[in-house]
């Protein structure tokens, strides 16, 4: 009896000992930073000394107020970054999802052989460094780069991609007679009203030509990763279901609409959730390729928050931006899960979602990492 008790105690001790390195590292570099950053966002710390020293004062919501209500450059920059990122999300999430699904469906055709080569090709960009990929795209989309050389073959005079701040919606609106294009002023009723220090006209600018190149890059890279999720989802669909459908005489298209897509719903949900969370955090590409230029049209909240804190020393508003961004991500995923109500994910709310995602992916993986392989 005693021996068993001490074994129990030993197991408990080891249990805590075994998890402690991970708990300490995650606590120190994930949990503690949030607490300190939250304190900084409600303090007047100016970057000198420790933010925890007694000379730093609590200022309440002043930084948030300044960021969201005061008529400052910081506010209009933040609004600009939100606008840019919004258009970025609006384009990247649907296109990368559709492209990933298309690639997965192409790779899931049982009658084709040699598919692993294609799978490798599509997935390869996902494992390479964002800096290396950015370097390639900087060359491809340069003024005299490959893309413009390709366009020239068809007689099209390509734009100076990275130097072009024109908003594509402004250009489109100008073409139908609203406003005077991307360069000129907008219609009076839209320039005389503003929200967060940005006129209505500026809000509807659309992504700039420069932003389009970043959008193209990200879609190109991330579609391969999401393609794998869709492939795993497709392979989980039992072939019995397809056999039953073909016995019933269902056409290819009908099978796809009534079987494949509905059964892929959980995967679709995962891809959209990860896509939304990821796209609101775009940082690497902006840092490497544009630093928010030209004309602040590639500025994103993640980059602005970094720039504002590290380079401008505006720590209070910089950290406040991080928390507003955090709020936006939670709000967007909540709205999305409301719309695309997912019956398969267990648990509710943001945490439940993430947990559902985790459970979904671990099911597909244990079979491949199991001891039998």
């Amino acid at each position: 009896m005693r021996r068993r008790d001490s074994a129990r105690a030993g197991e408990a001790r080891s249990g805590w000992l075994f998890v402690s390195p991970v708990v300490i590292v995650l606590g120190l570099f994930l949990v503690a930073p949030i607490v300190i950053a939250f304190w900084v966002s409600v303090s007047d710390w100016n970057g000198r000394g420790s933010p925890l020293s007694s000379s730093v004062n609590f200022v309440g919501g002043q930084n948030y107020q300044q960021l969201l209500t005061e008529d400052t450059l910081t506010r209009s920059d933040f609004a600009t970054s939100l606008r840019n990122n919004f258009y970025y999300v609006l384009l990247v999430v649907p296109i990368q999802t559709v492209l990933a699904l298309a690639l997965a469906l192409l790779l899931n055709q049982r009658r084709l052989k040699g598919l692993s080569f294609f799978r490798t090709a599509y997935y390869f960009p996902s494992v390479t460094s964002s800096v290396a990929i950015a370097s390639v795209f900087l060359f491809l989309f340069a003024g005299g780069g490959s893309v413009n050389a390709l366009l020239a073959i068809f007689g099209i005079d390509g734009p100076q991609w990275f130097a072009d701040p024109r908003g594509v919606l402004h250009m489109a609106l100008g073409a139908v007679g609203i406003g005077s294009g991307a360069q000129g002023p907008g219609p009076e009723f839209m320039t005389s009203h503003d929200f967060l220090g940005l006129t209505w006209w500026d809000w509807v600018a659309g992504p700039s030509v420069a932003m389009l190149t970043i959008i193209a890059l990200v879609i190109w890279v991330s579609a391969g990763g999401y393609m794998l999720l869709f492939l795993a989802g497709l392979q989980n669909i039992s072939s019995d279901v397809y056999e039953a459908a073909s016995i019933d005489g269902a056409t290819h298209w009908r099978t796809m609409r009534s079987i494949t897509v509905p059964l892929l719903r959980p995967t679709l949900f995962t891809v959209l959730t990860l896509g939304l969370i990821g796209t609101w955090q775009v940082f690497d590409q902006v840092y490497v390729m544009s630093k928010g230029n030209p004309g602040k049209t590639t500025l994103t909240p993640a980059f602005l928050s970094y720039d504002q804190s590290i380079n401008n020393g505006e720590w209070g508003t910089g950290t406040a931006m991080s928390f507003v961004l955090f709020g936006i991500i939670i709000a967007f995923t909540a709205v999305q899960s409301r719309i695309l109500r997912d019956k398969d994910a267990d648990g509710r709310g943001f945490l439940g979602r993430v947990r559902g995602v985790q459970l979904a992916t671990q099911q597909s993986s244990t079979s491949t990492t199991g001891p039998t392989t």
Binding site: A12, S14, G15, V19, V22, V23, V25, L26, F29, L30, V31, A32, I34, I36, P51, L52, L103, L106, R110, R111, L115, F117, R119, A121, F124, T128, S129, V131, A132, S135, V136, F137, F139, L140, S146, N148, A149, H252, L274, W280, Q281, V288, A302, S305, Y306, I310, T319, S322, L325, I329, L351, V354, T361, Q362, S365, T366, T368, T369, G370, P371
Partner: protein, 293 residues
């Protein structure tokens, strides 16, 4: 599928099905090939242009074959701090990988097998950390690294990366799939918990350990934002921060595309080699790590 139907179909009319299948097949392959070109051509241009001269690169941006082949770009790279950046990247990636493999498997084992009070709470807490968007933590991480006095040093670059929640769960899932009988035999022989873990459980866990190793190496090798907030001096620059500087900074005259693309080629090689060697495992592993992105 329709091939099967064609075989089972009425003998009188096999032809329409046969041609239809062939057409669909051809369509399938052409679509796959178009996408493959779209995915591979940028890399072909990247490698080709890195062996060009500056004027050749700008004059023929669509032609990947250099008109006069030169390794000048690569030689120039090593006149920069490229060797130093590589060394820093190697050091950081090796330590991060070793740390993650060890700590993630320890924690995964504790969460899967050991019975103790608070295990459920710890599991939930680790899941919760996966829900925090990484970029939001950039400035906060900078603050804590400064506060701890490990800024601009290997310690500050490595320690924050040595544990990751996704890796813990990959290990936990694996250990849950291993039969308990092995460990029970070891316990009866009087082996301690760590001994059992180290010499009985870990050797069986090889497949999962390889998965973790690959993910850890690849993600620390490619990491950019963490090294922007955990260090500042040129001596601690890694490949990602160094090459990013190369791309944005004005480096003398001209665009110097061959130089930039050569840097991109070299920094891609280690992960590319690993990718082709462990392809199957990377593809299954990336599905597990997907939550982190």
């Amino acid at each position: 599928m329709s091939a099967d139907i064609a075989h089972q179909g009425p003998v009188a009319a096999p032809r329409p099905h046969g041609t239809r299948t062939a057409v669909l097949k051809a369509l399938g392959y052409s679509a796959l090939t178009v996408f493959a070109l779209l995915y591979l051509f940028p890399f072909v241009i990247q490698v080709g242009t890195s062996f060009k001269t500056d004027p050749d690169a700008t004059a023929n941006p669509l032609n990947p074959i250099p008109s006069d082949f030169t390794t000048a770009a690569y030689q120039q790279l090593f006149q920069q701090d490229f060797a130093l950046w590589t060394m820093n990247s190697v050091i950081v990636a090796l330590f991060v990988t070793a740390g993650r493999v060890f700590f993630d498997s320890l924690a995964g084992y504790a969460l899967a097998r050991l019975r103790y009070r608070g295990r459920g709470a710890v599991t939930l807490a680790i899941v919760a950390t996966m829900a925090v968007p990484g970029v939001v933590l950039l400035i906060p991480k900078f603050l804590i690294i400064k506060q701890l006095g490990i800024y601009d040093a290997y310690t500050g670059m490595i320690i924050p990366l040595v544990a990751d929640a996704a890796g813990v769960f990959i290990m936990k899932n694996f250990f849950e799939s291993v039969p308990v009988s092995l460990e029970e035999a070891a316990k009866l022989d009087g082996a301690g918990v760590f001994r059992t873990f180290w010499s009985v459980v870990l050797p069986v866990a090889r497949p999962a350990l390889i998965t973790i190793t690959i993910i850890a190496f690849q993600s620390s090798w490619n990491e950019l934002p963490h090294f922007l907030v955990s260090r500042a001096s040129p001596e601690t620059s890694t490949l990602t921060t160094g090459v990013a500087g190369l791309l944005t900074g004005a480096l003398g005259s001209g665009n110097r595309y061959p130089l930039k693309l050569a840097a991109a080629v070299l920094m891609t090689i280690p992960v590319a080699v690993m990718f082709f060697v462990f392809q199957k495992r990377i593809i299954s592993g990336s599905l597990e790590g997907a939550v982190k992105e």
